[in-house]
Amino acid sequence: MTTAAKRIEIQSQKRLGALMRAHFLDLDEASRDPSRRVAWCTSVGPCEILTAMGFDVYFPENHGALLGARRVSHELIPRAVGAGYSAESCSYMTSDIGSTLAGVSPLTDAFGIAGPPKPDLLVYSTNQCREVQDWWNFYGRRDGIPVMGICPPGHLGEVTSEHVAFVSGRMQRMIEEIENKFALRMDYDRLSEVVALSSRASALWGSVLDTAKARPAAMTFFDGAIHMAPVILMRGSQTAIDYYKSLLTELSQRVENGIGAIPDERFRVYWDGMPIWPKVRELAEKFYDLRTVVAASTYCNSWAFDEFDGGDPLDWMARSSIELFINRDENTKQRFLAQMFDRFEIDGAIFHNARTCPNNTNSRFGMPQRIRAELDMPSLVIDGDLSDVRFFSTAQTMTNIEAFVEQLEERQR
């Protein structure tokens, strides 16, 4: 069963492929060039500090996602489990550690490089989860690389100026540590510049995602999961800004011309939680066949921050890093979801209960039940995982999704 109308692909994707290639080749080059330094950073960590201090920044979570998307995680995770990392803990972490222990990487196939660039410094923030701390420490211990981290206050309701000052102070401390360790000096004007670039890319990314507000939606969550790469990997660069400007132009054109990601869209649903990387394509096809657009997601919106106002760059970074959805309490999360449902005219919400990422799973404290009762929003919880396909049942999930759309049909009658 497929929809009759023809699918029109997003053209910018071709350009994205070339950008990614250049990005990874350059990182590979950096790791072999003694005059350059590579830092690894968590995806919503203080990467602007590293860029401003001249480091080339690599984001290991992307490697985890790639291992999942290439469907090799489940073959590599046992290596990490053997080394003492539980199969029930973050499968980005276990598949990444497993790939290191096995000496294989999807980056070889994709870009012809040996693997992730060798780090000089490992930097994390636990604003997303504690797992990253132990993930980075694995490499720190094993290869004797310095590990530096920020542990901001978590699960916040209101974000106060005290919270911001605390995190900004920790960032200042980290800068000093890096200065001492690597005999560098932070150029604060350069930091403001990088933060401005970072926030500009992030704001443009927000506008890109907003094109899914149109009916039909110009893009889906599955497109977003691909096109978000520059806002994570190339944050703080003009390249990311240029890419999103051209993507936004293309998508705005689609909106103007009434071209939808799903041409004869019937329903609009929301995706909460992590993508299921090994099954992204199958899921995208399933929703396409059901003429249901996944118009918005918590995941893609996690990199759409408020724009930098030109004030203290560390304050902006601190605020952005703790205002994140994942770092908030249930009530704040529920309010955010309610706003998203309104903005994107959502008919139903799907919660991905990711077995190895409780941090990015929001169905474990009654949220689906509350939004159903309080917002009259149909909800579905699907069990799966971000990377480890062994926690996923295709038949069961597809039946659940089909039944959910049947439920939406029934409501429409």
Partner: protein, 269 residues
Amino acid sequence: MSSPLYVGVDVGSSATKCIIIDKSATLVGHHVISSGFDYAEASEDVVRRALLQAEGEVEDVAACISTGYGREHVKIANKHVTEITCHARGARESYPEVRNIVDIGGQDTKVIRLSDTGRMVDYRMNAKCAAGTGTFLESTAHKLGLTIAELDDLAMSSKEQAVVNSYCTVFAGTEVIERIKSGQPREDISMGLFRSIATRVSEMIADPEGATALTGGVATHCRALLRALEEVLEVEIFLPPMPQHAGAYGAALLALKLQLAEKGADTPC
């Protein structure tokens, strides 16, 4: 050609069921066979046999809806619909007041919640695991050297029940051995297994308000399951006339509705 027939085929992981109704929604034929490895063949076979009972021919089939795990393999189907919607439809037809439908199949267990107007408002499926499913019972019965029917007979004669805490098929097996070693009667241990399923099901019920129906293959063969569920959920549970066929029945009703809707007529269901 005799009167038009409406066919529902439910291709489950263990059994394939077929229900045939006529235009007034009266049951005229039914059959169940093992699904085997070839779902297309099983569905053809089950329809042929049900048609024999209905004294009809394939040409008399006005509409067919397939459902279940192998729903996409039914060649004769005009449309496929999930077993969740079909079970809800089938159970509601047999028991209009029903609000919770518990369907225990070979590989999964579902709980479907209906609104007071019969609209599906929520449903849950067991997580990817045998806990709370027919497979759990089958496997544990097998370890005890019993068939499911024998396990059911034993459980029904239980006076006091032994507690089996584990949902996991493997752990439950170990627990059962421990109970045997501690001298607990086989009848009570058997009932404990059914209660373990009932407890698992109780976790899937968001709102116990209103009438509850039990459908699915396990319900057909196990009186002890009904008893365990009634005790754990503390409600009276309704068993439709052919619990294993509830999905196929719902599919047949939806086939009738589909055909009448295409003709623009009012639907009796």
